[in-house]
Every structure is written in structure tokens, then in C-alpha cells.
Symmetry: D2
Subunit: 443 residues, 4 copies
């Protein structure tokens, strides 16, 4: 590993600047026009073959896309802040995905997944918050990189640079997958459908943070949650709130009772479950019985059985409450994640690399992800094809938990992530690791 | 009365066209730029002295105004659809009020109030709905004249024409008050503060519909509701919904529990009360514990004691639920209506006029308003000054109740309304009615 | 009236003692064994013909009876505190009704209804509470005369004495109806079925209190509520609350959500409505998902349409919430009251009598009852037969509202009630009032 | 082990009869008068020294005891069904605990804990339920052995017989602890206070079932839940539900809203939590605003931090909702369990014994208990004293989950339990196991 240290040291300032630029310009799932274009602008000169838009993600398989107006607004915003017209035009209808591939020689195909989307949150504006203090807080009201995907994207760029400029340490093909819309579990499945991991021998995804301290890593994420994301609409009947409320069918009240009932769903005795209603919008005017309420809900379970239980009960609840109010109910699935397990040989490979890195003080076999990630769809596809898949966790001291408005991670850990991923690429492809042996062993 | 019939018959088609034009262009409270400008354009040539904007309404006394961005958007929309620049410029900051006065002679001042605002509702788009069928349904998505204020404004215009062109039937001064933001009980108080009813001898407001059939009128509205309109904000703490929900303080759940609790407030045993949460907006992203929820609520009571009870209990409820979730609570009063009673001499005058009109088949002493109206603030001010005040109800067969998306009234009743109001103006000022006698009698 | 004053003055101490004895021994609906027996013991020597038990109330038509074990316990308690065995034995299965009739001559039949049941409340044990201070508070834990029926029963006894001992002031037949189970609206209908008001020319019921002050009366109760009383059972599935809650179907949670939803039912715009869940019992053990919850609910409406609305929406709510939890639902009607209106000639008669009584300072045409009374079933039957029916309100200063644990009324008002009812009896039958004329007039 | 097989085979029918007799006579926590007396009657002739009542459990340390009337009723019931007067008299105030000790020689003290209480559940009365079919279903309405404690008590009796009659296989002292009130986590702490495990070298508790199949055992229970058990009272103000509900403070509605809010408490992201409201009782009469509601709630967490979180949030919730309704709140702690971990040397000992038993097909290192057990208090005290403690799980095929009304276990597994516990007693004391070595090793 010693060969890459000077390179990383030299490049790190630029990478951090790149990360801070992304942090200032967060984009929601399926509107990452600027982010993808910025990545493409950096990757093209390095010699990567780029698949952009519908070449990287199946338009038909996308679920949970934002409305066309939001996509258009995002395009305009992206163009006004550095995205290239030719890039934006190649990603119609929210197909903001990018696959960058570099083929050095015959040999294994190693794919790495980096998710790039931000969240709908108002970033903390207090001086306690480092991005604010240092001037790289979100410039987009209501949007924020609060889950570290700006860091992920940056690691992806750094790996691309490393691989392009270090031709001796690895062989085969490196495929970098920049995925939109990981939040909500929407982007991966549609990229799988477009063949994003076809032919891959080793797939690696990573997440930074997850309550693992800086300078520690885990070779496998455990408890990757199964989840379902639903948009729920109650449709009632408007009426004058004082004149004739008896004629109304109160969709807002139905929605509010659904919220309290959903959080109170009977939980599973042994398997972890979660439920959240992250957004609620109902009614239009103070003195009108509301005829519409919209909820964005998310159900999670540690295993398929737990999610099944939550989905069945949530459906009972929604149906029952709609009936109680004489409202119509429309439930639309907007996303879904499944669990996945890191292939043991891949975990061993990661452990070996990590233990050789002086910056990493502790290596865990596994660590709870504390949520779900639709990277699981890539992992299943790769494993089904006979390849190996891994999901590793890169520790980082956090200022606050993921999705908090004052989330912030230790930027130096980006360097550790680059070292680790570069090490994995090298170790998997420089001859010391035999994919065919491993397949035989685990068959 | 026979003198005005041909005039009304001749003018009615134009008035209905005016009403339908207003119906196509509904504007919310404090954004009625087009409506007021259209009225001003018609009233100026008739010889009325106009007070517009801050001359008609106290800027400082306005509560519950929309955000500046909404006001600017409404101005632009109004200018694009027929409002005059000079009118719009004279109504800064949502001061969309108009007072038009015509002085014919010495004598009593008669004021008539017409409210002109619309509601935030999506108008029915089915062919069952007459405005849709006949092509004058709202052209503004999410906005609708669903309470008949387009009819009120039209009656005001018609009375203005009648009074300007019939100089023999009345004397004294006619003051026409075109009020913004009756919905939400916001406009009247601020117009009172600007002196809108100073010096008035007789004040008359009217409402069409109210479950009273066409060709019937009521000389006084009873059960005018006391009401309070509050904007409520719960502020919590965002957190990852699955990773560390224990760190969150769920403002959306607090808001939902508040909704269910508010509708369940203990009601008064003898006095009618109402509660409504007409709007709820909470959270930003599906997988984040929501850190903010906003509610628009309205409390009503048949008497001050009943509203007091509802306000006290609602406050307990909001405080308690905020505490239960560790959330901060901000409650802002956005509007208020009070009850008022028609002066008996004014009711007698209206009865006498109505009984003489062949189009009116039944005259009621009173009729429940089925809600509140901040016209009560005008009425109290006039009565406090020693004048008379009335609130009459003009029956009209409705297609659906007030505030329903398929609300529609019988347009022919506009003609009856004009006859009635014109008759009241004449009867109050042509010498047969002595304000000083009435004052003495009721003193 | 002057003839009866000395008699009332002489007898009042005994009547108050009787009332206090009843107050000490409250009995719930359909278990008034002691109360009825005590009344029977006093009425027999006065010459009244008594109909007891199934002769006075239809066993088949009883709804909402308590369980057999409660009836047996009440019998034992009654026998231990002064009830006669022969009386108790004549009232099997909770048929605790008594009709006492005295025929003086040919002439009209006047019926008076007195309800005798108490409530399930723990009487206030503080020294602020007069019955406690004076030593006549309830001796039965959990039971209390908190609605004044002890006073009603006493007035009935007093009238019986007056009528038996004053043979010159009236004629015809006096029928005294002592009704069980007015609370819950259960006793009257079954007495009607047994013919309790067959042949009646004038029926009078009264209630003391109702927020009308002492020395005032109202000739007619207005706003007699329509009401429905339901027992509701949710049946779920028990499970270990921590081990496998996912297998449970939580009837207690379903019941709790039903409570919050029922209180939040959309109310009628113009007609008063009420809803109450007066009792809730769910679950058996802290660490078991409850498999059963029982609710006692009551719905009221000022008119049939309002009650219909509340019943329809309550049923939606219960069905929907049961479905939401996968619970079974059983709804049983336990009582029902309807509205009724006092016959105008009867109200006039009452006014004439009341205005002649020096103790009564103010006579109202009507006054809100503030609830319902199944006396309405008697009234309808009498009016359907061509007779007159009245429900008057006897004012009384209250220490606290009806059904409060510190309810108490002004005992002196019992004397006023006796005078008034005796006066009505005399006026209706001594020749000055012609039932046939009145019938002709109102036909 | 072969030596004990014939003994067990011979005695098993009697033990099963004993178990079925207990099953027919279930008794709630702190009222196990018959159960303890029946055990005492069998243990006395075997030579055991018995500590009964206050000698076995600290009267002062008892929390969550039933009311005195319930204790007296249970005593009467016990005496009527085979309990001895002298036993019952020795257990005043619900001190229904028994410690039976047999000293064979110098040597280690081995204590075994058997909990003996039943649950407040109505046992399944369908023919699908084996105890019903075979005639040993509960004879006590509302009570049921639905957690297998009848089996535990029987294993305790069987071990007592085995130890008394097999003097060669073990040495030292055997102490059998028959604990009341495990349900609700109430009995153990008070027995610890009475010195029940003072001086103990090895403590073993067991539970049968827990979703582990028959013929399998686990050497250690994992995920023993921390829990808190609270009784919660809301005190409001009664009022007539229709007459003047505005004067009421509705404790039942407060309670219902608390139930829905408690189930919706924010859960911990990583640590399992549970909440249950197992009992709710509110109000007294249908048409009265309820002035009191009582809830029995239970909070659990996989670790102290998780329980802390749940307790803090539940307290916020209860306080906030009480304030929202203007009700008083009283919260009383009725029980508490903590987590505990089996000492590794004890687990190894159990594994060694189990693996030698032909009836046991699979031995697990650990298995989730699926709840809590206050045996943890014994375990901590023993471990604090330097002894070893274990909590093992005895697999048993169940007809339904613990606490279900059709719970039933495979009775043959009682024989396996006896073999296993007897084996542990022998192995721990016959010289092959050195307590001092183990202590040194784990120090």
C-alpha cells in the first residue's frame, strides 16, 4: 500500500474541495444532474468509458420519480451551477445515473457502488455546525447532504483517479457505479435492470459513519433492513367546517389517525422493525373540511418475515381507517430495499487489506448498518451470477446521527476510504486472490 | 320599486358576465388584486370617490397575511389578466381593499359591505358542475369561489350602478365597502381601524345561500359564530428514522396526535362549538423523523363563553402534546370573528322592503348563518357610534354546501339581491325612516 | 291552592327524611328493589291499587338489563335494608317498576311519571358535600343519586299522599308511574309496552335542576335529545407482549383508538350532538396483549337526523378500527331515547297553575333539558292516543351539575314541586279544563 | 445418568398428575396459597427444611401486591381446595414464597429457582385445547397457567424427590426456591432481600418453551429484557355527558390517548424495545364524563439504555397527556426486571450434562428468552457474592405462544427437565467441578 500514500496525500486537498462543492449543491434522488455532470467532467479526461442516463439505468424500471416539474427545475439549477448541457440532455426523465469503466487487461471485473443523492432537510444554520462555519453548507434551501453521500461520491472520484494513474497495482476492469436515489431505495433496482453489474466478479459498496468511530472499519454490514416505501393518499369530501361538517369526509383527520396508528403497529417479538411517516400534507384551507391527505411512509424489518408482518398490518390499518372515515385510499409503492449478506471470501479479502493499513486501528467482522440500502439489489444480482459481493462500513466520527440537520463526518476518513478501496481493488486483481477457487470453495 | 325593474332587467346579463369573470379568476384573502382593480375600473366612471389600499385598510392591523412571495405572485397574475398597474401599485403588502363612496346630498350615510375573496380549493372538474359545463370554472388551480363572494362583489357593483343612475329614489351618501379576506376573519378589523365605517348611520352586510332557499330572505343572521384562527407549529428534532429514532423528537407525530385530540375536545353542553384543522404540513423526507409540523386550526363558539372554553382546552391540548413529544410549540393568532346582532329597527326596515318585493316569497325574522363573518367588527363599530347595523341573508338554491368543491348558487338571485339592497338604500334615505327616532326609541 | 299549604308544611319533614333515606340507598337501573318496595309500603295503606314487576313493565321489552348476578346481589342488599320479601319476589329479572293508581270518580286519567334510579358514581366524600356533612351520603360504594331521581321519587310519594287525602280538589283517576332505569334510556319503552299509559288523558313528567334556578319553572323541556346507547366489544387475540406481540390482535388498543376517534366524530353543523364513552374495560394482565375490550358509549342528537348522522359515522368508525386491528366487533343496543314535545294546551295549563303559586318567581315557556329522557316514549304514546303530554322542569339551585360526584339540589324545591304537580292535577280535573275542547282545538 | 432413569420413569405419572392439578388451580402472583401449600405438603415428608412466608420473602420489599381483599379471597379459595390452614397462616400479606433446603454434606450450595404463579387470562374453552379435552383446564374463571409455571413447579417437586432419594449422586446442599409473582417482575427482588440466595455457589433457573422445540435446550438465555411495570391513574372530573361536558375533565379519554401514544413511542434504533398496556379500566357510567382511568403498562428494553429511553419518553407522554386534559396523574412502579448473563463456567457445565443425555437432540449456547424474568435479581446477587449463575431454556413444542389462551406445552419435556437439572446438581457437586478453580479462572 505504501505506493499510493504520496499520491493520496497530494490529491486529498482537491478531493476535499470536490466533496465540499457537492455538499454545497445537494440534489434529491433522480435529480442529481449537477453531481453526475461534475463527476463525468472529471472522469472523461481520465480515460473512463461513460454510460450516462438510460444507458446506465432503466427508465421503465424507475419507481418513485419526482414530478416532471421538479426534474426540470433541477436541470435548470444544475445548468446554472456548472453542469454541462450535453450531460444533462443525456439524462432525460430523472435518469441521473453514471457508470464509468476502465479496462486495463483481461481479468476480473470489480464494481464499486457510490450513491450520490441528498435529503430534503434544512441544514443547521447555527455556528456550531462546521459546514456552516467553513462556508460549505448547503446553498439549496430544504436540501442537505445529511447521510454522507457527498463523501461516497468523492471516494468514487478518488478511486477513479488512483486506478487511472496507478497501472501497476491492479489488473482487469474497474467499473464505478454512481447511483442516484439510494434514499427511498429507488435507484439500484433500475440500474440492475440496465445491466449495471452484469459480468461482475466482485462488487463492493461502502457506507461511512453508522456509529462506527473513525479509524475502524467493518468487513460486512449486518442487519441490512428490508424496507417498503409507500405513498398513501386519503381522498375525502370537502365541506364548510362550521356550516355543514356532517357532509364532509375528513381526509386530514383520517391521515392523522393513520399516523398515530402506524407508529403504534404491533411490533415483532424477535425481529427489529421500524415505521416512519416522514411527510404529511393535508387540506388546503383553515375553514374547510380537508378532502385530501398525503403521507409518505416507510416500513422496515430485519428480515423478510418482519417486513411482511409490518406491511400486512399497515395495510389493515390504512384500509380500516379509510373505511372509518368513508374516505378512498390509494397506496403506491415508491421504493423497496431487501437484505443482503456479504460473501465470506469478500469479507476475508477486505479484512486482509484493512489489517495491513496503518490508519485503521480496528477491524470488525460486521456492524449493524442501522437502516437499509438498495445496494442489496446489486449484491443479490452479483451473487446470483456467481460473483462475490460485499458491503463494508467505513468508520467516521460524526457530529450528529445520520439524517440529523447537523450531521457531519470526519473528512480525513475519506483518505482512509480511498486507501481501503484501492487496496481491495489491488488485492482482488493482482493475482493473490483466485475468484475461481473461492467460487469452488463456497459452492 | 317599480322604477328599477327595467334597469335591472337590462343590466343583469352584464352583471352575470362580471360574476362569471370573477369566478374564473378567484383570489385568496389579501391577494384580490385583480378583483379590486376590476371593480375600481367599473366604479370610477360612475363618479364614485375611491379609497384603495392603505387608505381603505390599516396595514398595521392586518393579521394572517400571506407571505410576500405569494403576494407578488398574485400581483403578477392579476396584471397578466386585466388588473391595472396603477391600481396594483396603490395596494402594497396585501392591502387589497376598496371603499367607493357617492354623495348625493345631505343625509344619512348608508354603508354596504361586500366580501370578495375566494378559497383554496380545487374546483370540481366533473360535468355535473355547472361552472365547468358553462366554461366559467376557476382557471386558477387550487383556488375557487366556493362561498359566493363572487356573487357578493357583483351585487356591490350592481348597487353602485343603480345608485349612480337613479338619483331620485335615494339621498344622502352611499358607501360601498369591498372587503378582502373575510375567509379566516382577517380583513374587516383592519378596515375598521382605517375608519371604513366612521360616521355610518346604517350598515348592511349580506350573505347569499346559507341553506335558505331561493326567493326567501332573512332580516337578520343569527348564531354568528365567535371564532379564533390559529397557526400552530411544532418544532422537534430530525433523526434517521431507522438508525437512531430515539434521538428524534417527532413533530409530525405530535401534530397528528394534536389533530386527533383537537377534534375530540370536550364540547359545550348548551352552546354550539366547532373545531377544524384545515391544513397540516409536516416533515420533509420519508426516512427522516420530522422536525416540523404546521397546522392551521379554527375554533368556533356560538357565544363568547363557548369560544373561551374551546380556546382554553385547545391550548391545554397543544401544550400537553408538545410536552409529550419534547417539542417546542408556537401558536400565532391569524384571525378572529365575534358575534353580532342586527339592530331591530334595521331588521324592521329590511322586512318592510322585502315584503314589498314580488320576487321574495318568504321573509324570515332570522336564520342561522352557519359560521362566522368578521362583518361583526363593522357592525359593532357602527352600533357603538349610535348607528344601526344589519346582516341579512339572501336565499339561494345551492348545488352543494358552502366550501364544497361543487358549490354553486342560483345566479338569478343576484337580481333579487340588487332589488333588495337598492330598496333598503331607498327606504332608509328617502325620508320615510327617521334615524333619530330609531335611536331615541332604542336608547 | 291555599288549601294544601298546611298539609305540605306538615308533611314536608317526613318527605325530606324519605328522600334522604333513598339518597343513602341508591340503586342502579333495573335493580331498584328497595326503592320500589319502600314506595309500595307507603302507597298501599293510602288506598292505591299497585301494579308491580311484570304487571308494570314488559319483561320481553327490557333492554340493557344488568347481569343476573347483579340483580341477585341487589335483591339481597334490598332485603337486608328494608325491602319486603313479597315485593322483591313480585319483581323477577329486574322488573323493578311500580304503577300506583287511585280512582276517585269518572273523569280524565292523569298520569305522572317519576324515575327512581341512581348512577354508578362514587359520591364526593369531602366535607364540602352537604349529604356527607349531614350524614345521608350514599352507603353503597360506587353508587350515587347524582341526578335528583331521589327527589323525583319523593315528589311522587308526596303527590300520592296529597291526592289520597284531598278528595275535593280533583276528580277522575290519578296514575303514578315509578319508572326504573331512566339513565341509559331503558325503562320507559318497556313500561309503555306493558300498557303503563294506556287510556291516559294527561301525562306529566318532571325533572328538577337542569341549570334552572330555584323558584323558577319551565312549562316544557326543549331540546330533548334523541340518543342511542351501545355496548361495544372488540375481540382480539392474546399473545405475550414481548415474546410474540406480532401474533396478537390488540383489542385494548383498538378500543383506545375507537375512543379517540368517537370523540372526534364530525359533528352536525346546525343540530347539537354529543358523544360519550362512559366506561372502558380492557385486558387482564400487564404483559399480555389484551384480547378483549368493552366500551359503553352513548350518542345523542338534537333531532333524529343528527342522531342518525352520529350513529352512521360511529358505526363506520367502529367497523373500520376493528378491521384495522383484525379484531371482531360486537355492538349491542342497550338503550334509546327520542325527542318529544310538550302539548301546547298542557303547557298552558302548567303556566296557569305556576303563575298562581307564590313560591314560583318566574315561569319560562321552555328550557333546554340538557340531555334526553325516555319519558319521551310515554309522551309519544299518550299523544298518539289523542291525550296531552308535558315534560316540565322544576328549577333548583345545584351544588354541582348533574352527574357530578358533588351534585346536590335545594331540598325545599321538593315542596314547590309537590305544590305544582298537585295544582296541575286539580286544574286538569276540577272542571275548568276541557280535554275534549283541547283535542278539538289542536286537531 | 442411567441410574436415575428408572426412578424418573416410575415417578413421572405422579408428577404429571401434580402438574395437572396445579393447572386446574392457577393462582395469581402473591396469592399462590394453594400452590405453595401443596408443595410444602409434599416436601416436608422428604426431609426438607422449609422456610415459608416472611422467612422466605421480605414483606417490606414486596411491590405490586394485590389488594388485601384479593389476598383474603385467594386464601379462602385455597383452603377450600386443599391448602392447609397452618401453611396459609404462615404466609400473611401475600408472602407466598417457599424455600426448601436439604443438606447432605459439606460442600457447595446449589440453588434452583422455580416460579409458580399464573396469569389473569380466560383459558381457551374450545375442544382444540388439550387441557380442556383432558379435563384439567383451569377451574378458576379468569385465571390460567399460560406460561408453563405449573411445569416449573412440578420440575422443582421432582428434583426434590430425586435429591432426597438419590443420596449417592450429589453432595453439599440443595436449595429449592419456589418464587411467587414472577409475572410482573415482583417476587424475586423481595426474596433476595430475605436472603434467599445468600451463600449460594451455583444458581440455576430454567424456563420451558420460548420457541425452542422439544428435545433441545439452551445453556443460557440471551436478551433477558430490562423492564419496568407501572400502574398509571388519571384523575379527572365527572360531569353529565350531554348536560355540561364542558365542566368535565375526561380521564377515560386521557387514558385512551395515552394508550395510543404509548404504543407509538419512538423506539430505539439498535436495541429492542417493547411497550404494552395490558389493562385499562375507566369510567363508571355511560352518560357520565369519566373521572378516573387506570392503566397497567409495561416497558421493556434489551439493555438499560433502551429501557431508560422508554421510561423517559413514556413519562413525557403521560405527563403531557394528563396536562392536555387537566387531569391529575399518579404513576406507581409495580415491578422491574433487569438483564443478566449466565456465568460461562455454568453454561459449560450445563452443556456437558446436556450432551450426555440421550433425550436431548440439540444443545444451543444461547437462545432469546423473549421477555424478562426477575430471576435476574437472584443471578446478580449470586454473581456479586462470587458464585455462578445460569438461566437455561428447556425446549418444548407449544400449542400456542406464551400468554396465549390456548398455550400448552409437551408434558414429556418435564421428564427431560428433571433429568437435566438432576444432572446439573450431580455434576456440580460430585467432585468433577471445582468452584474455586472456576472463580479463579473468571476473576
Amino acid at each position: 500500500m505504501s505506493g499510493i500514500d504520496p499520491f493520496i496525500l497530494r490529491r486529498l486537498p482537491d478531493w476535499l474541495a470536490f466533496r465540499r462543492d457537492l455538499h454545497r449543491h445537494p440534489e434529491l434522488g433522480f435529480t442529481e444532474y449537477r453531481t453526475i455532470s461534475k463527476l463525468a467532467q472529471r472522469l472523461r479526461p481520465l480515460g473512463y468509458t461513460l454510460r450516462l442516463g438510460p444507458d446506465a439505468i432503466s427508465r421503465e424500471a424507475i419507481i418513485g420519480a419526482p414530478p416532471a416539474s421538479a426534474i426540470e427545475a433541477a436541470k435548470a439549477q444544475a445548468l446554472a451551477s456548472g453542469a454541462l448541457v450535453e450531460d444533462v440532455e443525456r439524462m432525460p426523465d430523472g435518469t441521473t445515473a453514471l457508470i464509468a469503466e476502465l479496462r486495463r487487461s483481461e481479468g476480473p471485473i470489480v464494481a464499486m457502488r457510490f450513491d450520490v443523492d441528498a435529503l430534503a432537510l434544512n441544514e443547521d444554520s447555527s455556528d456550531m455546525h462546521r459546514p456552516r462555519r467553513l462556508g460549505f453548507a448547503s446553498a439549496a434551501p430544504g436540501l442537505m447532504h445529511a447521510c454522507g453521500h457527498d463523501g461516497h461520491a468523492t471516494i468514487g472520484l478518488a478511486i477513479a483517479e488512483f486506478a487511472a494513474q496507478n497501472d501497476t497495482s491492479w489488473s482487469g476492469t474497474l467499473r464505478l457505479i454512481f447511483q442516484p436515489a439510494e434514499e427511498g431505495g429507488r435507484g439500484a433496482r433500475a440500474m440492475v435492470e440496465a445491466g449495471a453489474v452484469d459480468g461482475v466478479d466482485l462488487f463492493v459498496a461502502l457506507h461511512l459513519g453508522c456509529d462506527l468511530p473513525s479509524r475502524e472499519i467493518a468487513c460486512a454490514a449486518k442487519s441490512m433492513m428490508f424496507s417498503a416505501k409507500w405513498d398513501v393518499v386519503f381522498r375525502g369530501t370537502a365541506a364548510h367546517a362550521a356550516g355543514n361538517p356532517e357532509n364532509g369526509r375528513n381526509a386530514l383527520l383520517a391521515g392523522a389517525q393513520a399516523v398515530t396508528a402506524l407508529y403504534a403497529l404491533p411490533r415483532h417479538g424477535c425481529l427489529a422493525t421500524h415505521v416512519n411517516v416522514g411527510r404529511f400534507q393535508g387540506g388546503t384551507a383553515r375553514n374547510v373540511i380537508a378532502d385530501r391527505a398525503e403521507l409518505e411512509i416507510e416500513l422496515r424489518g430485519e428480515a423478510a418475515a418482519a417486513l411482511d408482518h409490518m406491511e400486512r398490518r399497515a395495510r389493515w390499518t390504512l384500509d380500516g381507517i379509510a373505511a372509518a372515515h368513508g374516505c378512498e385510499l390509494v397506496v403506491t409503492e415508491m421504493g423497496r430495499t431487501i437484505g443482503a449478506e456479504t460473501s465470506p471470501p469478500a469479507a476475508s479479502l477486505i479484512r486482509a487489506v484493512a489489517e495491513a493499513l496503518p490508519d485503521i486501528e480496528r477491524v470488525h467482522d460486521d456492524w449493524p448498518l442501522g437502516g437499509g440500502d438498495d445496494a442489496a439489489f446489486f449484491m443479490h444480482r452479483v451473487q446470483d451470477q456467481g460473483g462475490l459481493a460485499a458491503y463494508l462500513i467505513l468508520g467516521s466520527d460524526l457530529a450528529a446521527g445520520h439524517h440529523a440537520i447537523n450531521f457531519d463526518f470526519e473528512e480525513a476518513d475519506i483518505g482512509i476510504g480511498v486507501r481501503l478501496m484501492a487496496g481491495v481493488l489491488a488485492a482482488a486483481t493482482n493475482g493473490g486472490f483466485s475468484f475461481s477457487d473461492e467460487r469452488r470453495r463456497t459452492a
